[in-house]
């Protein structure tokens, strides 16, 4: 039904816009005076009037209809007031099943009555919906067509509608942030009601093995976030250690040394690295890189943990290569040719030009890319969930196991969880901290980029 209505709306909008166009054409031929907007704008304007209000109405109606129908049905169901919420929903569910023809047992007469009521109500609602949509379409079409006359600024009107849509779109990003911050702050506040902020911020022990249920056996639980953030730092640093030199050197080679054809082939290949699912990287880190790191550790005489930070960091670094190489590549390409020429004309070699002139000039772009990659490293989840450890340890040894914020968030949230337990709530506190930290990083990134941008 609804699908037909949406189809009808689209059709109506098209028809009305065609009517509008022809009407506008007639107005134009019949009047000597200059017409403000082209017929197409009159048509579009009429179509917007016809379709948009009815569309919005239909969406609202569809979201609200069931709840209202249910309310009315239950309102007349005998003894409904005495039922608990659970029973109500059970009865409702049975009514709906019966209405759909699914009988399991002989329905009681009350149910049958309610089913009849429901069906009549739904019929009514359906016709009401159709009637109202039709009315809205008619009124909209009438108005949209009526305003067509030579001086009517249909273009302005259409452009205003587009602007409103664009404004709405940019609000989505803002609403997303508000949603994230809102939910994080709400839950994190509950966490901090149980665990002191100072312990979270300055505590050196992270052991959220607290009992989930009253009758579960577990340790005490400690919520010092520093080791977790320290682990994030170590793994991100290792990832950057792999990604930054590889990315920048690749970009240098691609922009300055390689031929155009080599570049055209290699650049998309490198970009595949960014598109490989992170689960796959996770498997690769655990099954291929981690054992290699262990044997590497053995040959150099270092005891390597099976979940070494190095394995997770290195693989994550590979994932980040294209971020840095592509953005650095763009940054190098954006350095005006004049800079290169200036340097070559003084008698410098390619290498000198790259190191002494291009690199400083492209630095803002490169820094931007590096910071984006760093943000990704900090926020990356699946690789570390699979490849990094769960035990929070303050160590700088890359062969040792560390845990990261995202690992903790995922482990605390997925699996057995109870939403009023500090252990689960800790995930939100970690998420909030992480949000604040990356916000700071991006602030620095924007400042840095602004500071150096367009200086040459």
């Amino acid at each position: 039904m609804a699908a037909y209505l949406f189809g009808f709306l689209a059709l109506a909008a098209i028809v009305v816009s065609l009517l509008g166009i022809s009407r506008a054409r007639r107005v134009r031929t019949s009047q000597a005076e200059k017409v403000h907007s082209r017929p197409i704008y009159h048509g579009l304007n009429a179509a917007i009037w016809t379709g948009v209000p009815a569309f919005v109405f239909l969406i609202l109606w569809l979201t609200g209809q069931n709840a209202i129908v249910d309310m009315i049905v239950m309102g007349s169901y005998p003894g409904a007031d005495a039922l608990s919420g659970a029973q109500r929903s059970l009865v409702l569910s049975e009514i709906r099943q019966v209405a759909n023809g699914n009988n399991f047992r002989e329905p009681s007469p009350q149910i049958l009555a309610a089913v009849a009521h429901l069906q009549s109500l739904e019929m009514l609602a359906r016709w009401a919906m159709v009637a109202l949509v039709a009315a809205l379409v008619t009124v909209g079409a009438f108005f949209g067509l009526k305003v067509i006359e030579s001086r009517y600024r249909a273009r302005h009107s259409v452009e205003r509608s587009i602007t409103i849509f664009m404004l709405f779109s940019s609000l989505v990003a803002i609403l997303t942030t508000l949603g994230i911050v809102g939910s994080l702050v709400y839950e994190a506040a509950q966490f901090f009601a149980r665990v002191p902020l100072t312990e979270f911020l300055f505590g050196l022990r992270w052991e959220p093995q607290i009992a989930l249920r009253a009758d579960q056996v577990a340790g005490q639980g400690a919520f010092g976030a520093i080791p977790v953030f320290f682990g994030t730092f170590v793994i991100s640093a290792l990832a950057m250690l792999v990604a930054v030199p590889t990315g920048i050197l690749s970009a240098i080679y691609l922009t300055e040394y390689s031929g155009a054809r080599f570049r055209a082939v290699v650049k998309p290949l490198l970009e595949i690295l960014a598109g490989i699912p992170t689960v796959v990287y996770g498997f690769f880190a655990v099954l291929t890189v981690a054992p290699a790191v262990r044997s590497l550790g053995l040959t150099i005489g270092v005891e390597a943990a099976p979940n070494s930070a190095l394995a997770a960091g290195a693989v994550m670094g590979v994932m980040l290569i294209p971020f840095i190489s592509s953005l650095s590549d763009d940054a190098f390409a954006a350095v005006p040719r004049a800079m290169r020429d200036g340097s070559y004309a003084l008698g410098s070699t390619k290498g000198e030009t790259i190191r002494k002139v291009l690199l400083p000039a492209a630095l803002p772009g490169i820094v931007g890319g590096v910071l984006l990659a760093l943000s990704r490293a900090i926020g990356e989840t699946m690789i570390v969930v699979m490849a990094a450890g769960l035990i929070a340890k303050m160590t700088l040894n890359p062969f040792d196991a560390v845990t990261t914020v995202t690992v903790q968030i995922v482990t605390l949230l997925i699996g057995d969880s109870e939403f009023d337990n500090p252990k689960t709530l800790a995930a939100f506190a970690l998420g909030l901290m992480l949000f604040i930290i990356t916000l700071g990083l991006n602030l620095i990134a924007l400042r840095t980029v602004r500071k150096y941008r367009e200086k040459y």
């Binding site: 004049a338 800079m339 200036g342 340097s343 070559y344 003084l346 008698g347 410098s348 000039a361 150096y452």
Partner: protein, 271 residues
């Protein structure tokens, strides 16, 4: 066209300056950009310690010729250079030639000022540093100071050497680029429309500078302005559609050119 070639050949046989004074010489220089030919068999001698002006309508190949002289065309993938260019009698397109050395000897100032996004000091010090021209900081300081002085910029920037070179005004940037070029003590300086971005006052300063530099350096300047060519150069070469139309002493070119096109161009019949 026949007449033109004859004139050109004659001129080459009887150069106005003595043979010993020829710093650079282009023989049958041709340049292709991909399919398109941008220069056609250009023969031009550049006398030492004089200012040679290259004039001609837009797109006639002046910049292209200039860039041939220090092989900056190497950096353009599609460019192919033919013919023969010598510096002090040595073929600069010889594979054995060291481009880095060549470019150190033949400096260039570009049409648009292009200081590096570094401090003023670093801009000037860059060349001496990569070529290892100085032994220590004091010597380097001296080179920077004297170069900026020669470029008539010292007084304006001596208190702000550590500020970025890109923060200077257009005219100052242009002079900074000149200072940067002469800091390497090149033998030849190529200047591509050095005043196109400049206001009248800055233009006057740069012209004055060129006049002074002439004492020690060989200078080649490209300009769109007849007036400027007349003011600063001793010799002038007129290009048109990739051909060298005429060249000679500036006085003569501006008063009594041999070629009709030169005449027309100078008197504003076209261009």
């Amino acid at each position: 066209m026949n007449v033109l070639t004859e004139v050109a050949v004659e001129k080459k046989l009887n150069p106005m300056t003595k043979e010993s004074n020829i710093k650079m010489r282009g023989k049958d220089v041709t340049v292709h950009y991909g399919e398109k030919q941008a220069l056609f068999a250009v023969n031009l001698d550049i006398p030492e310690r004089q200012v040679t002006a290259l004039i001609g309508p837009s797109g006639c190949g002046k910049s292209t010729f200039l860039r041939c002289l220090n092989r900056m065309n190497d950096t353009i993938d599609s460019a192919r250079v033919g013919g023969n260019i010598t510096l002090d009698g040595e073929d600069i397109y010889d594979p054995k030639i060291d481009v880095v050395e060549l470019r150190a000897r033949v400096g260039m100032v570009f049409q648009k000022p292009n200081p590096f996004p570094k401090s003023i000091y670093e801009n000037v010090a860059y060349g001496p540093r990569i070529h290892g021209l100085t032994r220590n900081k004091a010597e380097l300081d001296e080179v920077v100071e004297s170069s900026l002085k020669k470029a008539a910029l010292w007084s304006e920037v001596k208190d702000r050497l550590q500020e970025s070179g890109t923060g200077l005004s257009g005219g100052q940037q242009q002079r900074l680029c000149i200072a940067r070029a002469i800091a390497v003590s090149p033998e030849v300086i190529l200047m591509d429309e050095p005043c196109s971005a400049l206001d009248p006052i800055a233009t006057a300063k740069v012209e004055e500078l060129i006049d002074e530099l002439r004492a020690n350096y060989t200078i080649i300047i490209v300009t769109h302005s007849m007036q400027q060519a007349a003011r600063v150069s001793q010799r002038t070469a007129m290009f048109h559609l990739g051909y060298l139309v005429e060249e000679g002493a500036t006085d003569k070119m501006f008063t009594n050119p041999d070629d009709k096109r030169t005449q027309d161009y100078i008197t504003g019949r076209f261009g």
